[in-house]
Symmetry: C2
């Protein structure tokens, strides 16, 4: 199947939503769906959907709709879900522990290999059979293990320093929960979850209603 | 000060980042900053910054830069941070507890008033002096308390049902952590934090590097 390269960031941001909805359809034994029907479920316009899905292959057959299973497989490939990712969590506070316990990630192919914290009270405790280690061990751990994604859950003041240890050890993916924008080389992918930013967006839109 | 109304969603999404950087400048006793200097810190272009800040008032003085404190105050108003918000958390699993413990939100004016869960083992436990109550009490609680924001941290299957109880009780703000797109009336503001979507965006961008 011929594919177009260079999918735009806007399309990439929509892909996980397609992934969620299409997997739901597979679960419900839906074989085919038209862009119009998918539009009603997912909330994008039918023309947006046709344009998006056109970016990475020719699935739709006019009048027959999309083959749901094929589309799912292709989206899995584009989202990188046919690969496996070794991850570590740095910072085992509330957010770090919540992420460690969020078992759904394992199903998607993200395997948690290590958890690190600075707090002596947490060291030695286990989450899903993984012992929380001293943050001073991160450097050695990364040298001895193939880690693809580091999940940063430390306070803002330590985040850049932690990022630098990660980058030095050739980890190319950072999932950053610290409320700070990390300075990283171009070949490192950083995906931020800035909870405060999200809450402030909500208050901005809500303020005139209360 | 004359302000333009109807700030676009794109500008609103950038505002929390301005809020973070400008508050950092205030802490560091910086009085004035040019769009060029701010650009170097925040990563938006200087022309983008001038255009954004122009949306809600006339702060910049050519050659003198922006008055940092005034700008902060104005952004606080636009973000709704001069108001107080009463919040409840529904679902006291890992994410719910992490949010409940994320004390920074209190500083910003978001006050946690209730925590609810379905799990009998959690009922009666306290987080920051707030007892986890049975989820069956949510309806009554909302009738008797002025709640502005409900934070939904329940599994995807229960999220829509929970949202409907909230909406029925006239809560206009939902911060949704459930991996599902809620169906809500137009006057209800929903801000989603879809962790899986965020992780899949990361794997999508990372897949060819590993």
């Amino acid at each position: 199947m011929e594919k177009k390269k260079n999918i735009s960031m806007a399309v990439i941001r929509r892909l996980p939503k397609y992934h969620r909805y299409l997997n739901e359809l597979v679960k419900n034994d839906v074989d085919r769906i038209s862009s119009k029907e998918l539009s009603e479920k997912i909330g994008f316009t039918a023309s947006q959907i046709r344009q998006d899905l056109n970016c990475f292959g020719d699935f739709g057959q006019q009048g027959y709709g999309y083959n749901v299973k094929e589309l799912c497989k292709e989206i899995d490939i584009i989202l990188g879900l046919t690969k496996e990712y070794n991850t570590i969590i740095i910072g085992a506070g509330n957010i770090g522990q919540a992420i460690a316990n969020y078992i759904n990630f394992e199903k998607l192919g993200f395997s948690l290999k290590g958890i690190f914290d600075i707090n002596p009270k947490l060291l030695g405790l286990k989450i899903h059979d993984i012992e929380i280690q001293d943050i001073d061990n991160v450097d050695d751990f990364l040298k001895n293990n193939n880690v693809n994604i580091a999940i940063i859950c430390v306070p803002r003041k330590s985040a850049q320093k932690v990022a630098e240890i990660i980058i030095k050890n050739n980890v190319k993916g950072i999932w950053n929960f610290a409320p700070v924008d990390l300075v990283t080389p171009e070949d490192v992918i950083v995906e931020n979850v800035h909870l405060s930013d999200s809450l402030l967006t909500l208050s901005c839109l809500l303020k005139d209603k209360i």
